[in-house]
Symmetry: C2
Subunit: 173 residues, 2 copies
């Protein structure tokens, strides 16, 4: 696992977007989504940052691993917990190109991640406001701050391209 030190302007202590840190991290998440696309997976990527270091970076691998839990966020959370030697990811920020589903929003709550930054909404399965809002205060015993819409257009465009390609190549199995 590479753990590059982030550039100047990164603010590891909270979710604020100091000098475009959010865009830099989302670019890395998007690069992960591109890898997923190349592998024939729904193109979603995620990055987890802790104290100016990337400790989790993954893309959706549901088809490759034949595992319904192998979403980008779940894989990145498991990596990050391994890196810290602790299941509590307090002090971490999770970047993901698409609004997390219920499973991933639930995992974010389980991991006590305080800051989530995502690219585009998921009107069909999003669990941070689109279909349901699992992270609204008072519902569960953990507070998550969310920033929405960082690099929304490219995060959405890669998904649209993926599904257009799938449709043109025949019916889904």
């Amino acid at each position: 696992m590479n753990s590059p030190v982030l550039g100047p302007g990164t603010d590891p202590d909270n979710g604020k977007n100091a000098s475009g840190a959010h865009e830099r991290m989302m670019s890395l998440a998007l690069a992960e989504a591109e890898r997923a696309f190349e592998e024939g997976e729904v193109p979603v990527g995620a990055v987890i940052v802790h104290e100016s270091r990337i400790i989790g970076k993954a893309h959706n691998q549901k088809e490759l691993l034949r595992d319904p839990t192998a979403h980008a966020e779940i894989l990145a959370i498991t990596q990050a917990a391994e890196a810290l030697g602790n299941w509590r990811l307090t002090g971490c920020r999770l970047y993901v190109t698409l609004e997390p589903c219920a499973m991933c929003a639930g995992a974010i709550l389980q991991a006590r991640i305080p800051h989530v930054i995502y690219g585009c909404d998921d009107p069909k399965a999003g669990a941070m406001g689109s279909v349901v809002n699992l992270i609204q205060p008072v519902r569960f015993n953990h507070r998550v701050e969310v920033v929405r819409g960082i690099m929304k257009e490219p995060c959405q465009a890669i998904l649209k391209e993926f599904f257009a390609t799938k449709r043109s190549s025949g019916p889904e199995t």
Copy 2:
């Protein structure tokens, strides 16, 4: 992974409780919860059945694996998908001693599991009716039938004993 053929009365085609099949499977899930208890983990166990065979059996290993996603259901789902070579767990039944949390309810939706049978409710984190109901029809694009309260008392008793022991041995970290 052991894959014993289930005894008579098992109904692999749907979630009906033919001749106490639910209790037999829940007993195995409870045995998994007991293993969790012995290992110092919150005692929750899960079993997944497909066509009269157990293809997933796991207990909570969050502390051991230092992984916030290592709930019994997630581990059992990953095992079952590996056993079938497919992330779609259609035709499966998931037994779990405690009402699934949001992460696990979301994973059940992702895996397309049609039947869930659980022991006791989780008033603090349950996502199949207690805090939120993620599996209610029309919310997401998959229907889950749920049977609640199978072997409720022993499933609840082991959790109460675990937390009483934790409290008497000092404050939680």
